[in-house]
Each structure stands twice: as structure tokens, then as C-alpha cells.
Amino acid sequence: MTIATRPTPGPAREYHFPAFTRSVLANGITVIVARVTKLPLVSVATVIDATALDDFREKEGLAELTAQSLREGTEERNGVRLALDLEKLGTSLEAGADWDGTVLSMTVLRANLDQAFEIFAETLMSPAFRHEDIERLKAERLAERMQLLDEPRGLADESFSRFLYARGARYAVPMSGSSKSVRGISRDDVQQMYQRSYLPSSTTVIFAGDIKSDEAVKLVELRLGAWKGEHSRLAIEPDRAAHTTRSLEIVAKRDAAQSELRIGHIGVPRTHPDYFNIVVMNAVLGGLFSSRINLNLREAHGYTYGASSYFDWRRHSGPFVISTAVQSEVTADAISETLKEIDSMRASEISHDELTLATSYLEGVFPIRYETTAAIASALASMVTFDLPENYFDTYRSNISAVTAHDVLEAARRHVRPEELQIVVVGNPDVIREPIEALNFGGLSVREASEE
């Protein structure tokens, strides 16, 4: 016996994103502190304006390799010592670079923060960049590149970027570089990247957790106050398109048990004024489980385990991608169903129900996203990276709820452009080629799976 009547919710309790302070030290380092005292933990995330766009030409992957090299030891302690000293304190460093920044982070018990931060600061201020460590990291990266060929999802993502962006545009080359570019990186390149881009004036240290603002600022002053340097940056255009009309590429993988499908085109920068309209539009199109594309491809047709769409938000125009993996035999059908959903998204306004599903979801999950100190630190890091206003988190939900069905239609018409769609399929051409040809989608090419 169960109850037929649907429950109705009472009023929602208020939620506020944790308040934070922002201060700038004498040497130019910015310190942001969000005090969250639920558990005796502190997450530290340091954002440095050293990005994959700063990679030297033909040395793509340098920013990532430089970030990873920070974990390989300092002048005072080698990589093993560094790892052990932090791990004995129950923590370890995460380090990585992406299109828009380098982030070095850790989560540590409050009681161990002072000791751990001393080591954290040491990795930033006096990395050793030992030749043998850099060579080892390069070899590991090359091994990863080989594995990519075996892994259809990664291969499809990467092939799509390479297909979308013009030759020579940085976004066409993988963020962490190709085999060729990684092989060409030397210890000197790493040292130069570090000297040019790792500077106090382009660094923000973020604390989220059980720590007061003045304590955190003092800690940074003590450990990073003596750090010096000036920032300079090259101007570049990373997001030029390769095609102006529709085209489709099959990346041949004859042993594929499924087709990995990517459909989309170049999107818009994170700072675009239509951001909130696009976020809601994408939720309806392919962002949610109950989105049009997933309900069609998965729940109505059973073609796939899941289908989704996203805008890859970057400082410049990252890709807009619809991504799914389908049974090989229905590849062409899945493409045409997807194209139908795109057309209908642009043809008329979404229903009130669809709109409120998207907006109430996005508003509701907002507090769930920020349960952990690491998630709060990471949100603040993206605020820094994209230069979002300080009231961004306080106004997020009202910005979402202000989006109308008309805004969504406008966003779909402006930012999803059927005539510019590009498609990459990683799959078995013997099975999928003919039905795809019959779609008459646009310029079709087939290439063998290869790494670059």
C-alpha cells in the first residue's frame, strides 16, 4: 500500500554561498578566503594565469608539463620526499593546467595546514625542474597518447576538436599536447614557462574551510610574501574555425563495438552576455537526463546508454558538443534524430514545463554543488579565471530564474546553427558509412585513427 497523493513542498530554507574576503599582498598575490567551519578541513586552490594558450609554438603541452613538474620536487626536497612529506600529513598536491589557467590544490586537516602549506608554497617558489623528472613525465605523457588510440571516447573528443578548429589554432591541438610537441619540450622550456607565467601578480591563493581570513592572509604572507616577478602575455587567436559549412568525418576503428558520435560547432566564450540563456537552453536540449536528446535517443529508441550536450566554457570560444555512443547499426538514425531535435529547438518556444524543469533544477542543485570545501575553492577559482563579478554566486539563481522561453528560443537560434554543424564519428566504416552517406549531411571524409 503506497500513497497516491503527490507531496507538495513547504517553503525552501534560504541558502547563501559562503561569504569570502579578497585581499592583495604587497608583492601582488591575491588571497581569497571563504570560511566554512562544518568540519576541521581546509581546501587550498592556487590559480596561476599560466594556460595552454601560453604554450610556445610547437611545444603544445608545456603549460601542463610545467604544472605537473611542480609535484616533482623543490631545491630542498626531491619528488619522493615531497610526496612523502605531504602524504604523512594526510594530503597530496593536485597540479594541472588547462586552457584558462594552472591550478595547484590540496585538502588537508586544519591541524596540518601550516606544515602542509609550507611545502605547498615551496613547490610554487622553488621548483627544481630536474631533467630526469621532466623526461619521465614526458615519457608518461607519450604513453598516455598511445592509450588514446585504444579509447574511443577520448579519441572522439580529440578528433572533434581537431576537426572543428583550423590548423594552427591552438584549440585544434590537444590541451596537453601531441606526441610530437611533447617530445620537443626541454627542461629549458619548462624553466622559461615558469619564469614568464608563474608570478605573484598573476596568482590567486584561495582557502575554503575552517580558517579565518586574517590567519590565511598571514600564512600566505609568511610563505609566499618574498616571491617576485612580472607578467607578460602574447596575443593569440586560439579558436579559428576549420570549416564554414557542414562536414562529417568518420574516424575508422574497425574493431569498434559502438560508434562514438560528436555533433556540434564552435561555441562562445564563457563571458558571453547570453551565458544564462545558453545554460538553460542547453539543459533542455541535452543537459539533463530528461532533456530532449536523451529522452529521444535513450528512452524512446534505446540507441544508447546516454546522450548529452554541453558548451565547453573557456575564455575564448570552446566547442558546443552533443556527445553519445550508439550501437553501430543505428549510427545514421541517431544522427538524424539529433538533427531533428536541434531543428525543433530552434523552431518554436519550449513549453512552460520544460522551462521550469531546467530553471528549477539549476536553482535547486546550486547548494548541492557546494557541499565540500574543495568544491567551494574550485568555484572561487573559476570566478578568478573568468573574472566573474564578486556577486556572481549570490545572483546566480535569480539570473537563472529570469530566463524566459523566449530567451531560450533566441539562444537556440543564435548559438545552435544547423548549417555550421560538424560531425565526427569514431566507428567501423564498413557498417556505418553507407547509411551515413544516405543522410546527405555534407562533405564526408574518412580517415584512419591516428594520433596526430
Binding site: R13, E140, A143, M146, G302, T356, G364
Partner: protein, 437 residues
């Protein structure tokens, strides 16, 4: 650090745990059913997981896929997962939507069958087959999920067969199977419900009683037979798989003490000494010093009956042969057995695991899921508050004794992935070049 635990049992046998934390206006609802792939009958591999999909296809008062829609519309997140011994379902919602989550879970526990149709079953069967292609067949090393348990447990054992299931068995699953499985296993006395986060305890208890109280107790489930196995394999088992991979990989499994037993914690610390993060033995020796491995890790399956497995997972570098990888990993294990570990290594492992526990408990959904785990597998939700201490009590002596007892050549199962020799014309120029460098 202690999280609050309040437990009660409904007359129908549903064990309920409340863990209140009003710091943020969100609440997690989490149900574990004590049924997993181990409970499948012969010829129906993959059924427990397919059944999990069917639980999102509606129930008496809920339309197909409405479960997802209602929770997302409420501003919540949700999912389910299937493992060898259990299946779980969970939602995290704004705290004013607690009743919605409870109502949805109660409706499918109490009245799933009226909503089941052949068409829904056929579609979800296709979805699951595509899930199999996506996660097993079209993934490098993806078959390890079925090959390792098959190697480590005898053919008659409930943990032996594939969790995702064979295409053939998935095709055979019928609506009668759905009905029988539901009546046997999806009963309140075979489930635990945990609620963590922002609620008023008295109100939450009333809601649980209202929504779940009317669901009748089950008639009992068939006992799993043949779970008991010897503590050790008695020999070294070895299976080699040629696969479309570029790098060799070895999974080295040991039969190990079941989840929650005193020695389980010793086994986990031993695993962390060998394979947790950069300071671990395998990483330091094989990745950093000898540079023959690209990555190394260690983990347990967390099985509470029969035997658990402690597993090392090491991927070679392109120029490393599978034989070399195998002998070097085993050399590290032999050395640990023969010479033992240092106190510093034990302390490092304890510090990392204890920090991970506290970090995980920040999230309401993690708290609820772990409470359900202890309630289901060990019968005591309050064990969540003893974990940090149990790891902390592990000593160098206990690790050394465990290693001598369980990591020897008489208790190893090796699953080795070897790159398939590519045929001419298939071999990519870039690959040859990368290997030469």
C-alpha cells in the same frame, strides 16, 4: 569526529537511520537493497542491474521517467547503482523536498509492478546492452570487470559471473523475471533507508512511517549458497588476455578478509602502502625509479561475505613487456612479504585514509550512502563513526603478519592484458615512432 546517528526499525522490517546536519538546506535519501548480481539465477546474468534500470520506469503513481523528472525539477540529483551484494538508489534534494524523495522511493518499493510493460523492458534491455558495449566491450581493459571475478571465484560461486551480464542472458530476461525478482528482493525487510542532512527528526520519522509503513514485509529470500571459499587460492592463478590495448596491464588479486572484519582494515592499509598515491611502494619503485609502469593503484572490492579481494592494478609503459611488468610487481609484493613495512609507511597510509574519510563525510549523499552500507552489510549504521579509529589502530606488526599470511604465491590471481599484435597496415606510424623514442 562523530556524526549523529538515530536508528529505528518499522514493523515491516525496514531499518531506518537519520543523521541530522542543518548546516545547508539539503537532504540526502539513500536506499540499499540487499540484492546484487550474486543473487541472480543461472542463465540470467546481468539481471540485477537491468532491474535497477526498470526502477526508473515508473510505478503505480509515477509515470515512466517521471522519477528523474520530478527529482530534477525539485532541484535534486539522483541515481542508482548495482554491485555484487547490493543495489542502491539515492537522491539529494533541497530539504523542503524530502517528502517527494521518500514518496518516490516508497511508491516503487510498494507498487512497482503495475507500471511494468514489455515495451519498457525491451527498451531498457537495449539501453543496458549499449551500456555493456560502452563500458566493457568498447573500452580498453573493459573486460577486466568480468574476467577478474571469474578468475578469483570458482564457477559455482555467486561472485563468479558477470555483473553487467552477457548479451545472450540479457535477451532472455522476461517480465516474469521482473515480477519474481521484485517480490523476492525488493521488500522493506531486505532494505535499509538512510536520510542525512537538513530535517527535523520527529517530522522525518513521521514521513517515513507514513510512506513506508504500509508496505508489507516480504516472504524472505533464498539464502545465497556456496559463498564460503578458502582464505587463499592455494596456488597462483594466471590468465592472459590479448586485447586492443597499447600498454600491458596486470591486475593482481589476493583473497582477503571480508569487509568490516578486523583484518579488513589491515588489508586496506597494506593496499595503501603498496598502491595509494605517489608515496606508495609501487609508484615509487615502478613508476618513478625503474620507470617501467605508467600508473599503479590498489583497492578492495569491499565484499562482506565469503571473501573480499585486495587488488593491485599496474599499467606498464610502452616499452615494458607484460612478463617484465608481472615479475617486477611480484618482486615488490615478495619484498613486502619478506622484509615487512616500516612504521612510517603505516602512518602515511593511515593519515591519507583518515583525511579521505573526513573529506568524504562533508557530503550528505556520501554520509547517507556509507550509513546504508554499514547497515546493510554489517547490520550496524553507527559503524560509520568507528572507521577512522579502526584504520588508526592498524600496526606495523599486523600489516607484516597479514602480508605473510595473504600475499604469498599461494594466494595470487593474475589477470594480464597484453597488446594484440596489430596486423600490417593497421599499425600506425606514430606508434612505432613513439616506441622507438
Amino acid at each position: 569526529m562523530q556524526i549523529p546517528i538515530e536508528t529505528f526499525c518499522l514493523d515491516n522490517g525496514l531499518l531506518v537511520t537519520l543523521s541530522q546536519d542543518n548546516t545547508a538546506p539539503i537532504v540526502a535519501v539513500n536506499l540499499w537493497y540487499h540484492v546484487g548480481s550474486a543473487n541472480e539465477k543461472a542463465g540470467r546474468t546481468g539481471f540485477a542491474h537491468l532491474f535497477e534500470h526498470m526502477l526508473f520506469q515508473g510505478s503505480e503513481h509515477v509515470e515512466a521517467n517521471e522519477h528523474f523528472e520530478l527529482v530534477q525539477r525539485a532541484g535534486g540529483t539522483l541515481n542508482g547503482s548495482t554491485w555484487l551484494e547490493r543495489t542502491n538508489y539515492f537522491e539529494t534534494v533541497p530539504s523542503n523536498q524530502l517528502e517527494l524523495a521518500l514518496w518516490l522511493e516508497a511508491d516503487r518499493m510498494g507498487a512497482l509492478l503495475p507500471a511494468m510493460t514489455q515495451k519498457k523492458l525491451d527498451t531498457q534491455r537495449d539501453v543496458v546492452k549499449n551500456e555493456r558495449r560502452w563500458s566493457v566491450d568498447n573500452q580498453p581493459y573493459g573486460t577486466w570487470w568480468e574476467k577478474l571475478p571469474a578468475l578469483a571465484f570458482p564457477e559455482s560461486h555467486p561472485f563468479h559471473h558477470s555483473l553487467i551480464g552477457s548479451m545472450e542472458d540479457l535477451s532472455k530476461a522476461s517480465l516474469e523475471d521482473v515480477e519474481q525478482f521484485f517480490r523476492t528482493f525488493y521488500t522493506p525487510d531486505n532494505a535499509v533507508l538512510s536520510i542525512a542532512g537538513d530535517f527535523d527528526a520527529a517530522a522525518a520519522r513521521r514521513l517515513v512511517e507514513n510512506h513506508f509503513g504500509g508496505i508489507p514485509r516480504g516472504k524472505g529470500k533464498p539464502a545465497l549458497v556456496g559463498l564460503e571459499v578458502a582464505e587463499r587460492f592455494g596456488e597462483t592463478l594466471r590468465a592472459v588476455v590479448e586485447d586492443d590495448v597499447s600498454l600491458p596491464r596486470m591486475y593482481l588479486a589476493f583473497r582477503s578478509p571480508v569487509f568490516g572484519s578486523e583484518d579488513y582494515y589491515v588489508a586496506s592499509i597494506t593496499g595503501a602502502i603498496l598502491g595509494m598515491r605517489q608515496g606508495s611502494r609501487l609508484y615509487r619503485s615502478l613508476v618513478r625509479e625503474k620507470q617501467i609502469a605508467a600508473d599503479a593503484s590498489a583497492f578492495t572490492f569491499d565484499l562482506a561475505k565469503g571473501s573480499d579481494l585486495l587488488i593491485l592494478d599496474v599499467t606498464g609503459r610502452p616499452e615494458t613487456s607484460a612478463e617484465q611488468l608481472e615479475s617486477e610487481v611480484e618482486r615488490e609484493v615478495d619484498e613486502l612479504v619478506e622484509k615487512g613495512v616500516t612504521g612510517e609507511e603505516v602512518q602515511r597510509a593511515i593519515a591519507l585514509i583518515q583525511t579521505d574519510i573526513i573529506t568524504a563525510l562533508q557530503s550528505a549523499s556520501e554520509r547517507a550512502d556509507r550509513i546504508s552500507m554499514f547497515a546493510t552489510l554489517l547490520g550496524d549504521p553507527a559503524l560509520i563513526n568507528t572507521q577512522a579509529d579502526k584504520y588508526g589502530a592498524v600496526t606495523r606488526e599486523s600489516v607484516n603478519a597479514f602480508a605473510r599470511d595473504r600475499l604469498g604465491a599461494d594466494n595470487r590471481a593474475k589477470l594480464i592484458y597484453v597488446p594484440r599484435i596489430r596486423e600490417e597496415g593497421e599499425a600506425e606510424a606514430e606508434i612505432v615512432e613513439a616506441m622507438a623514442s
